[in-house]
């Protein structure tokens, strides 16, 4: 029996204060993943007044089972790594808010951050490190059957599909991992991959090949999810021939990657086609005084260690900006 103790949920004497509305912070950081938390440590150590706005502490790392490529740890579970990040931030006093969503941002000499609950905070510089969220299919039936066959978390929900037929959409690492989780319990797993081959790591694909109850349909996409009270079939269209097949399945797991959480800066900052914030090599965005770091940016390779490094760069650039303003 494992016990996945969570990140700092019970630290009763955490060293932080609520954000203050009538103060202009030097740097305000949006995001509580590796980029945001690293940026916070760098800003505080530089001695600038810093605010940290977090929706979910740890971001994707908090939901990652194991991490084996963050230097210093041969293996650490995601929650533990987040806890260590958090401890490193909160050894300093910091003004902090967790859980509330940011609605919009005003640029200008002093930047304003508007919360959905009406609160507004000001800063001379902003660091956007809001990360990415799981992408949805956007096909008929997806919303309707959510929790009734449509699922996004294979570790959470695989047990409910024991002895059933399921579809996994997506052939990247998360798709292959989901297929492996499901192949252990399900009768049959059909993977639907957009491209002509799986793009997951070889080590995972080899693991998947060991299962006899998995088949992969290439160059295809899901066009609808159908059923009466719950999922009964999935329509899959071959992208070359246009032929649509109905696959009988009681479940469908959506693992088609991530979308950047850049909605709050759309129209304000320059984004690339994928919706990622475009930054230069010093983490500057298209607006002076607004910096960005981590998975929300167009920096290639979304990795914990990359996001952390980018967070450090963004913080140092932001501090320079504040001091030379």
């Amino acid at each position: 029996m494992d016990f996945n103790l969570s990140a700092g949920m019970f630290d009763s004497e955490l060293n932080f204060n609520p954000l203050v509305s009538d103060k202009t912070y030097d740097v305000m950081i949006l995001g509580g993943g590796p980029a945001g938390l690293t940026a916070a440590v760098y800003c505080i150590r530089k001695g600038v007044s810093t605010g940290l706005i977090v929706k979910e502490i740890g971001g994707q790392v908090a939901l990652t089972a194991g991490v084996e490529n963050y230097m210093g740890y041969r293996y650490i579970n995601g929650v533990e790594l987040v806890q260590k990040f958090k401890e490193q931030v909160f050894q300093f006093g910091i003004d902090y808010d967790e859980g509330t969503a940011v609605q919009s941002i005003d640029a200008g000499d002093i930047k304003k951050v508007h919360f959905e609950d009406g609160r507004v905070f000001s800063a001379k510089a902003l660091i956007i490190a809001t990360g990415k969220s799981w992408r949805k299919l956007g096909v008929p039936g997806e919303e309707e059957f959510r929790g009734r066959g449509v699922a996004y978390c294979s570790t959470c929900d695989a047990p409910f599909f024991s002895g059933k037929n399921v579809v996994v959409v997506g052939g990247g690492n998360s798709g292959v991992e989901a297929a492996i989780d499901l192949a252990r319990v399900a009768e049959g797993v059909t993977m639907v991959q957009f491209l002509e081959k799986l793009t997951g790591d070889t080590i995972l694909i080899d693991k998947l090949s060991a299962f006899k109850n998995v088949r992969v349909i290439y160059e295809s996409e899901v066009t609808s999810i159908d059923g009466r009270d719950s999922v009964e079939s999935v329509s899959v269209k071959n992208r070359k021939t246009g032929v649509v097949d109905q696959i009988a399945a009681q479940g469908i797991f959506v693992e088609i990657g991530l979308i950047p959480n850049s909605g709050i800066v759309k129209g304000l900052l320059q984004l690339n086609q994928a919706g990622e914030i475009m930054v230069d090599c010093s983490c500057r965005t298209s607006v002076p005084g607004i910096f960005a770091a981590g998975d929300v940016t167009d920096v290639p390779f979304k990795q914990i260690i990359v996001a952390g490094g980018e967070g450090a760069k963004a913080a140092l650039t932001a501090c320079n900006y504040v001091l030379n303003r």
């Binding site: 494992d2 016990f3 996945n4 019970f10 978390c153 599909f161 719950s230 009681q250």
Partner: protein, 213 residues
Amino acid sequence: MALFDEKVKKQIKDILTAMKDDVSLAFFTQEFECFACGDTRSFVEEIASLSEKIKLAIYDFQKDKDAADRYGVDKIPAIVINDKDNNHLGVTFYGLPGGYEINSFLGSLMEASGLREPLKDDIASRITAVDKDVHIQVFVTLTCPYCPGAVSTAHRLAMENKRIKADMIDAGLFPHLVQKHQVSGVPRIIINESHSMVGVQPIEKLLDVIEKM
């Protein structure tokens, strides 16, 4: 064999030092222990050994019918968290809160001891205003990182209003309930057997549903 290794034991012990008042745990099992009852008993015994503030009473589901009725326990294994005066808070865990669910269990334990984050005023008054019997069941799997959040919210509602009761239910242990409510994804929140919600919901959303019932 102990469930907690030394590292986890120390982490939990450290967390529990922040407990305010005593908390009473009522654990329900039976003479011929059910699947998972034995492990769950070890779990509560080990937890209780980590803090002097935790009092543990073990009941036999068959023989101590009165106690089971008093706490509304209708299946086992069940862990009921009561406050220092053994007042029923309406907070029950059906199954062993292992995996990610250790977090909701420890959270509820701390809250039952009186260590509670203050609620926003409007939320607090909406909870107080609930004047009907509400039973919230939260289905979880122990490998679901989102589920503890859903359980904690439901349990917090229960602690704030006597008319509200909330259960964590390990979907793996109660297949007939999974079947009955057609649970195929967690967290799944069932309110008064009639209303169902998928995924973690903010406390406002739960109140919206409760108020409309």
